[in-house]
Amino acid sequence: MLTIKNVSKNFGGLKALQDVNIHLEPNKIYGLIGPNGAGKTTLFNLITALLPVSGGAIQFLEKELTGLRPHEIARLGIARTYQNIRLFPSMTVLENVLVAQNIHTQSGVGSIFKVQRSDKKFLEEAEAMLKHMGLWPKRKEKSTSLAYGEQRRLEIARALALQPKLLLLDEPAAGMNEAESAELLERIQEIRNSGKTVFLIEHDMSVVMGICDYISVLNFGKLIAQGTPGEIQTNGAVIEAYLGREEG
């Protein structure tokens, strides 16, 4: 469904990504791992058009993404979360989700102000989404009053409200303890089981190795390995550059 073809990105003289090729099939969970600064978030920024590509092309459902704006890509069915959380700080938990639902109703800036609280269908959907992510009891709180891990879950709920076909998650388990990330892992599997494709960046190896069908590894902007979790875990180059050897 998503094809990343010979994609490169330069920041001035810095080659952040070089000749990256990744192909995603529907209804699977994909992982993207690599050392800090390898270019993982940059690749997500290219897919969602927050940054223009320097070379190569990205296609989603046979459609060329080059030249589209971020909101157009969201309408096509790609939603994402951010590594450095980007919620609407002055809105409540519920409002953060309601705003996202609006993308499929009206267009234009004015639509934002027409969120009808009485709109039963949206409220029901938002309720289901927030319950799914365990945030319904906190729906009336400002998003900034949530703990860090809860804000991450709210970002996922907001992204799901766009009803995407492809969901990009940038470090969804960061700031969660093992029990919490194990629960998140089940939520992500449910998202896949509901017919969506998930592409995630994550450093928590219990999450990556536990749920990904296929993993791509970036190092210094280049793909150094692709394969199943089993293949990646035993790949010498990946152990060297990224996994390290467990101590104690």
């Binding site: 800090n36 703990a147 860090y148 891990g149 093992e178 919490e180 629960e183 390290g244 104690g248």
Partner: protein
């Protein structure tokens, strides 16, 4: 060196901390374990003076610091690495690091700077870049490095390994252990409870604003309740719990 007595605190009408007593002695690593929303970050905010408590006292050395402004508390050597990379985006990496040592004589900063660059060589390479151009993980290294520049006496860390590649996580924990000396106390909040308890002398378990359990690192690691709730425990139990939650 640090004694927290009967702290109650919250935001607006929401009470988060319901009478917290903890202490950290010189030369100790003390870890604080708890789910997202338990109040760990709130407690660190109270100690560092960002949030004033409704009641209770924070005593550092012999002195009450409960209502001192943040910068006065920093001058006493109490440092906090904030969760989620609160770096100065429009300053260079080097300027960010120097800001960390602003309360110390300039001539003392060179050895600290060398030590930070030795620990995170990528910061050395990128010292002239603006903070905002760093990747997420590199920003995390910068916040860690910046706190080291202040030569802390009490070093509080809120998720220092957040967003770091596994190979670097190991390095950061080794470094934390090295930082412990007869003059420095460390208060560590980590989602990676397994690793935190491995290096901690003592720990506290925080649940919904109250300390429910305390003991040595080894005691807590072998405690069944801690294992189930925070160390990934038995998978079967967790699945049961999440099913129950969905059914409710």
């Amino acid at each position: 060196m640090l004694a927290v007595k009967g702290i109650e605190a919250g935001y607006g009408n929401i009470q988060i901390l319901k009478g917290i007593d903890i202490d950290v002695k010189k030369g100790e690593i003390v870890t604080l374990i708890g789910a997202n929303g338990a109040g760990k970050t709130t407690l660190l905010r109270v100690i560092s003076g960002v949030l004033h408590p409704a009641s209770g006292e924070v005593i550092f050395g012999e002195e009450k610091i409960t209502r001192l402004p943040c910068h006065k508390i920093v001058e006493k050597g109490v440092f906090l690495i904030q969760e989620g990379r609160a770096i100065l985006k429009k300053m260079t990496v080097l300027e960010n690091l120097l800001m960390g040592g602003y309360s110390r004589p300039t001539e003392d900063l060179t050895p600290s700077l060398d030590a930070v660059f030795q620990m995170f060589p990528v910061l050395h390479q990128r010292q002239k870049q603006l903070g905002e151009t760093l990747s997420g993980g590199e920003q995390q290294m910068l916040s860690f490095g910046r706190a080291l520049m202040g030569k802390p006496r009490l070093f509080m860390m809120d998720e220092p390994s957040l967003g770091l590649a596994p190979v670097l996580v190991n390095e950061v924990f080794v470094k934390i252990k090295q930082l412990k000396s007869s003059e420095v106390g460390i208060l560590l909040v980590e989602q990676n409870a397994k690793k935190a308890l491995q290096i901690a002398d003592r720990g506290y378990v925080l649940e919904i604003g109250k300390i429910v359990l305390t003991g040595s690192g080894t005691e807590l690691r072998s405690n069944q309740k801690v294992q189930e709730a925070y160390l990934g425990g038995k998978r079967a139990d967790r699945a049961d719990n999440s099913e129950r939650r969905i059914n409710q």
